[in-house]
Symmetry: C2
Subunit: 400 residues, 2 copies
C-alpha cells in the first residue's frame, strides 16, 4: 500500500485519532489464518469487533471460512458488503430479523447462514416466523450450550436433546447443523479456575454433540462444532477436535480480537495461551492505538489529554500510555515504564497522573494502548491505517 502525504505525528489530521498499524495487522491476519489451517479447523472470525468491511475483506482474502456476527444490524452490514457465509452467534428471535434473514436466503442461493437455538419456545418461535417468511430452504441452526451463571445456551444435555428434537419437529423450516458455545465468559472469572471452567464447558459441548449424534438428530453432512473467543482457542481446538461422533465433524473457531490484540484484556490472556501452547500458538501483536494530544498540565503531576471515554473503551481497564512525541518531531519516546497512569476519564479527556520531570508540554502527542479492541473500535466511524512511521495509508470506515 502506498502512503498518502498525511502523517499522524505531523498533525496533518485532527486528533484524537484511532490508528491501526497496518504491518502488525497484516501479520496477525496471516499468522492466525495459518495457525487455524495447521490445526485443521475452520476460522470464522467474529467481525463485530471492528465492523469494518475493509477488514472483512482482508480476513476473507486470507482464506477464512466465513464471518461471525451477533445482531441483525451487523448482519445487514455484512450482506451489503457481500459477505457470503455468516455464522450468527446468537439466538435469532426478532420478527424483523427473521424476515431479513429469510429474504436474503431466498434472494441469494449462495448465502450460507447459521444461527443458534437454546429453548423449545425459541425453536417454535423461529420455526413459525421462518414458515411465515418462506426462505425457500431450511434455516441452519446449532444448539447453543451455555455456561452456568452465564448467558444464553442450554445448561444440561437433556434440554439440548429436547431442543434438538423440537428442531427436527420443525423439519421443513429448520435443520440442525451442530453444537455451539461461547467459552469466553470464563475469562472474567478468577484466574485460578478459568482454565478448568473452560475445559469443563468444552467437555459439556462435546457431550451434547455425542448425544445428539447418537440419536441421529443432526442433518446430513459434517457436524459443526463451534466455540472460541479470543482467549482459549487452543483449548477449543484440542477438545472439540477430539469429539467422537459417528461421522465427520468440523471445528469452527470464531476468534475476532486476533486482528488487533490489545494492551489489556487479551494481552494477558494471550500470554496465558502462549504458556499453554508454547511455540504452537500464533504470535500476535497489538495493532490498535489511540493518539491524543496534551491539552494542559494544570497541576504538578497532572496532564490532561484530548481523548476520553468517547474515544476508547474502559470495560477492561483504562488504556496504557505507550509513547510520547514532542510536538514538531517524529521521535517516539516509550512511556510504558515511566509512571504515566490514566487515573480518571471524562467524555473527551483523559486525566493522566505523571511523575515530576515527565517532560510533556501542551501540544505534544501521546499514544494510548486500549485494553479491549471491541469497545474502542465502536467509538470510531473512521480508523486510520498507518505504516510504521505513522504515514496514513488508508482511512477505513466502520459500520456500528
Amino acid at each position: 500500500m502506498t502512503a498518502t502525504d498525511q502523517n499522524v505525528l505531523r498533525e496533518d489530521l485532527p486528533l484524537p485519532l484511532c490508528v491501526l498499524r497496518a504491518a502488525a495487522l497484516d501479520r496477525n491476519v496471516a499468522r492466525f489464518q495459518r495457525y487455524t489451517e495447521s490445526a485443521g479447523v475452520l476460522l470464522c472470525p467474529h467481525a463485530k469487533t471492528a465492523m469494518s468491511p475493509a477488514l472483512f475483506g482482508r480476513q476473507l482474502a486470507a482464506g477464512c471460512w466465513g464471518l461471525t456476527f451477533a445482531t441483525c444490524a451487523q448482519l445487514q452490514v455484512a450482506r451489503r458488503h457481500g459477505v457470503p457465509r455468516v455464522f450468527y452467534a446468537n439466538q435469532l428471535v426478532g420478527a424483523a430479523d427473521i424476515r431479513y434473514v429469510c429474504g436474503e436466503l431466498r434472494r441469494d442461493p449462495g448465502f450460507d447462514f447459521y444461527c443458534l437455538v437454546d429453548s423449545m419456545p425459541g425453536v417454535q418461535l423461529l420455526a413459525s416466523r421462518v414458515a411465515d417468511a418462506g426462505p425457500g430452504r431450511p434455516v441452519n441452526v446449532l444448539v447453543e450450550g451455555g455456561l452456568a451463571g452465564g448467558r444464553c445456551g442450554v445448561r444440561d444435555v437433556g434440554t439440548a436433546v429436547a431442543v434438538a428434537e423440537a428442531v427436527r419437529a420443525a423439519g421443513p423450516h429448520l435443520a440442525l447443523a451442530g453444537v455451539e458455545g461461547f467459552e469466553g465468559l470464563a475469562q472474567y472469572r478468577d484466574a485460578s479456575r478459568r482454565e478448568a471452567d473452560v475445559r469443563e464447558f468444552l467437555g459439556f459441548l462435546v457431550r451434547i454433540a455425542e448425544t445428539l449424534d447418537g440419536r441421529g438428530l443432526f442433518q446430513a453432512g459434517p457436524v459443526l462444532l463451534s466455540a472460541g473467543g479470543s482467549a482459549f482457542y487452543d483449548l477449543v481446538i484440542g477438545q472439540l477436535k477430539a469429539a467422537r461422533l459417528s461421522r465427520p465433524h468440523q471445528v469452527i473457531v470464531r476468534s475476532g480480537c486476533y486482528l488487533t490484540q490489545d494492551w489489556g484484556a487479551y494481552a494477558g490472556l494471550q500470554a496465558d495461551l502462549q504458556r499453554r501452547a508454547g511455540s504452537a500458538g500464533p504470535d500476535l501483536e497489538p495493532a490498535l492505538e489511540v493518539w491524543a494530544q496534551v491539552l494542559s498540565a494544570p497541576e504538578p503531576g497532572l496532564v490532561i489529554l484530548s481523548a476520553g471515554r468517547r474515544d476508547f473503551g474502559q470495560d477492561a481497564g483504562n488504556p496504557v500510555a505507550l509513547a510520547h512525541v514532542r510536538r514538531g518531531t517524529a521521535e517516539r519516546r516509550p512511556l510504558r515504564d515511566s509512571g504515566w497512569q490514566m487515573t480518571a476519564v471524562s467524555d473527551q479527556h483523559a486525566h493522566m497522573t505523571v511523575r515530576p520531570g515527565h517532560g510533556a508540554e501542551v501540544g505534544d502527542l501521546i499514544a494510548l494502548g486500549p485494553s479491549h479492541p471491541c469497545t474502542t473500535f465502536d467509538k470510531w466511524r473512521v480508523v486510520h491505517l498507518v505504516d510504521d512511521d505513522y504515514n496514513l495509508l488508508e482511512a477505513i470506515r466502520t459500520y456500528f
Copy 2:
C-alpha cells in the same frame, strides 16, 4: 409530525433500538429554553451529547444562542450542518484543528467562534498557529478556570491574570471574551460536599472575571461568563449573574442533557436541583430508551436480553428496566419496582436477574432506561423518534 407505518412494539424494525420519545423531547426543549430566558441568561447547549443535526435544529429553532462542542471532529459536523455560533468548550491546541477553525472564520464572516485557554504555552501555541493560518480576524478566547484535582483550567487567579496578559500580548491574533469553567466535575464527588464545591468554584470564576475586568484585560463588548453542565445550572445562573464588573456581562449556560434527561446520573441530580430551585426549576422528563428483546431464560431467575454494552452506556451505572411488552401486544407493563436488575453486561447482551413469576418469554420486548445519555447516544448511528404509542415518526442520524 406524522407517524410512519412502522411501530417499535409491533417489531417492524430490528431490535435493539434506541428510541427518543418525541413529545417528551419537545417539552424538554421548550421548557429549558423558557427557563434560561426567564433567568436572563444565554443558552448554548453542549451538543456533543447527541451529535445529531436534527436535534441541533430543534434547539436553534427554540432560540438557543449557539451550540457547544468539545472536539474538532464535532465542530466539523456542526459547520457542515450550518451551525452559525459555536462555543468550543475545550482548549484549542491541535495544528489541524486550528487550521480548520481559521479556515472557517476566513470563509464565513457569519461564523462566531469562542474557545478556551488556560496556560501561557497554550496561548503562545494557539497565537502562533493562528498567525500562520491567517483567519482575517482575532480568535475569541475565554480563560478557563479549573477545579482543583479536576481537568483543564487555571487553578489560581494569578495564573489567570498571566494567561490573560499573554492573550493581550497576542493581540492581533487572539481576543479575550470572558471567563469559563466546568463545575460539573463536582457531580462525581461526595453528595455532602458537591454543592459547596460548586459554589466555591463558581466564586473562583467570578473572582477571575472581576480581577481581569479590574485590569482592563477583556476586549470591548459584554464580558461572557460561562459554566453550567446539566447538574448545577441553577447555582451557575445565580452566582455568575451576580458578578460585579465595570460593564455589562452575559451569562452563558451550556447544559446539554436537559434534552433527554436519563434514569440515573441526571435523574438524581435533577431531583437535587428541584429541591434547591423549587418550582423555578424546569420540569424535565426522561426521553431516551433502549428497546431490546428477550432471547433466552436459560436458568431460573435469569433473563438474557438482546442489548449490551454496545447499545447503552454504563459509566453512570447500568440501565434500569422500564417496561415489559408481551410479544404481539402493545400493552406496556411497568417494571420499575418489579425486581428486574441488570447484573451483568456483555457486548451484545444484558443479563437480567429477575424474580420467580417474572412472566417474560422469549421474543417479548423490554424497555431499558439508560443512566447517562452521552454514553448511550454515541452507540447509535440512527435514533428513532417515536410518538407515545411507539409509532416511528422519524429516524434521525447521529455523527460521532
